[in-house]
């Protein structure tokens, strides 16, 4: 026990003095996710609300030929800017982004309108631009409603029931909930948490194994009267400590970021408060020893720092796989899925973020499977350390 703590303390202290470790464990890893996430969510929300709240701007060419239409548009909150552009000029202006959406009323419009013939208007827009497409859709909807109104008036003037033109009435029932839409976003967030957690221990896992060998201190260490299991245990314990710290910083950063992001519009519990953060911490905690053992195990087989870095970068991606599967197949929380580490953390964290209750059994199974796998990996790592090939 004494030797275990000695190894732990030394690894902890040594890496505390290493700027690269500190940067990746306590700064880059933990803050990258929350900041990117906050920026992403804010931008998404901004775009949606921007479109809905802002009044539509429409550039109209030849508006004087259709005073009724112009009046209708104005009364529906559209801001008109009257100009006089040819079709070519309008196309060029929209292509180059000088104009958003341009409505052209051609010369034949008044005559055909008066004769009760379809009167053409041109709507010049760029559907490859999301914002522009939305504006065009709104313009089209208002134009259609103008057309519908005129049609009704004409039918009434001729003594016909306007309802004759509506043989089928379609009512949309949209069952999409904000929660459903938020799943992809939650997947991102939970992955960031797991990513930061692993990043926290990455350099220590490398430094205490491949680094130890590359520095040439390994053989002296292995010739001490300390069981290899103890050496491995102390190193993994130190890696765990950094991962725990990193996890804490990440969650704290998420709490701060979410304070400024109107999450309830994504169907998550309105605030990621301290209580929620603590629940998330508890859910992720069993994943810490597993990640530490996995990274130490992989790094133990590598010959050099550089090689270890290459392999561990792949390990960083491992937790994404189950999460990706979860979003592709829209997996819901099930006890059997709790056996899969990272997926179980993802599902449990998602539940907590949606303020759904989580089952004690699910939490137990998730924790248990992580710990069992961690113990297995620690044993395998220790076995490798007892081999002669460990000397390199």
């Amino acid at each position: 026990m004494g030797a275990l703590l000695t190894v732990f303390r030394k690894e902890f202290l040594e890496n505390l003095r290493d700027r690269r470790t500190l940067f990746s464990a306590l700064l880059f890893g933990p803050l990258f996710g929350p900041l990117l996430f906050g920026a992403m969510v804010t931008r998404m929300l901004d775009q949606n609300s921007f479109a809905a709240d802002q009044s539509l701007q429409l550039t109209v060419s030849g508006g004087e030929r259709a005073p009724g239409l112009a009046q209708f548009l104005r009364s529906h909150g559209v801001k008109l800017r009257l100009t006089n552009l040819s079709e070519e000029a309008a196309r060029a202006a929209v292509t180059q982004g000088r104009e958003d959406v341009v409505l052209i009323v051609p010369a034949e419009y008044p005559e055909r309108f008066a004769a009760g013939r379809p009167a053409p208007v041109l709507l010049v827009a760029d559907s490859s631009d999301t914002q522009n497409r939305k504006s065009a859709e709104r313009a089209r909807a208002i134009l259609a409603s103008y057309g519908g109104g005129i049609a009704q008036q004409r039918l009434q003037l001729r003594g016909l029931d306007p309802l004759l033109t509506v043989p089928v009435a379609v009512n949309d029932v949209d069952v999409a909930t904000p929660t459903g839409r938020a799943v992809a976003i939650l997947g991102f967030m939970t992955y960031f948490v797991l990513f930061a957690l692993l990043m926290g221990g990455l350099y220590l896992a490398i430094d205490s194994t491949a680094g130890e060998r590359e520095r040439g201190s390994l053989e002296a260490l292995l010739s001490l009267p300390v069981p290899r299991t103890t050496l491995v245990g102390g190193k993994i314990l130190a890696t765990c400590a950094y991962m725990g710290l990193s996890l804490g910083v990440t969650l704290a950063a998420f709490v701060v970021v979410f304070h400024f992001v109107p999450l309830e519009r994504l169907g998550m519990s309105a605030n990621l408060g301290v209580g929620t953060a603590l629940s998330l911490f508890a859910i992720c905690l069993p994943f810490v020893p597993l990640g530490a053992a996995l990274m130490t195990f992989v790094a133990s087989f590598t010959r050099s720092y550089r090689e270890a870095q290459t392999y561990l970068t792949i390990v960083l991606l491992v937790p994404t796989l189950p999460i990706a599967f979860a979003s592709i197949y829209s997996l819901k929380t099930r006890s059997s899925l709790m056996l899969v580490p990272s997926l179980s953390q993802h599902l449990l964290m998602t539940s907590v973020l949606r303020a759904e209750p989580i089952g004690a059994l699910d939490l137990g199974v998730a924790t248990f499977s992580c710990l069992v796998l961690a113990a297995l990996l620690i044993a395998l790592t220790a076995r490798h350390w007892r081999r002669e090939t460990m000397l390199g």
Binding site: S217, E219, P225, L391
Partner: protein, 243 residues
Amino acid sequence: MIEAERLNKRFGAVHAARDISFVAHDGEITGLLGANGAGKSTALRMLYGVLTPDSGRAIVDGHDIAGETSLARAHLGVLPHASGLYANLTARENIAYFGALQGLGRERIEARCEELSALLEMHEFLDRRAKGFSQGQRIKVALARALVHDPRNLILDEPTNGLDVMAIRNLREMLAGLRDAGRCILFSSHVMQEVAALCDRVVVIGAGRVLADATPGEIRERTGAASLESAFLQVLGSAEGVG
């Protein structure tokens, strides 16, 4: 006392150690002499127990390194061929880490650090981080690390590699001092002059075998050579004929 009893080790097709037997006595410096790749490191690594022999035994102060590993190692200080330090720890912390892993208490470690610092003249850099130490400074710290628990036996694998003349001389004086204090010292080298200058006993190794085990004087007598250098060359030459 360090005893090698018919140690054998194969790495695939390479027979790196064949029936290696010798004894390194207390109060003596024993030199393991051989060309690069002769099997010196393999033999030493079996003696300090990081390699397991295919057959044979390695015994330190009567304790079998395979059966009583911890006990044997507690009597053994090791300076392996690669003796890197932890760059982010100070010299003192490097030494203290090994002291703690040897099971020494805090006060004992402190006392040993001071003693070794005086012995190896490390005052100047004792509390500096090991990053940027010269090769000579690194060897001193690594040696202090190996000696922290005041072992009765010391194994050094090519300790003079990369040292300048001055540092080599200091090391020699240090090892002579330890011998005079009754310690058992076993070190390997491929430099003949070094072995000749320092050793009470020479074990010559070639192609994984012990070719000679005697005092430098005896080797000279046996071969009838005028200088130790030609005597060694004769020993090594006859081995190549054999092997």
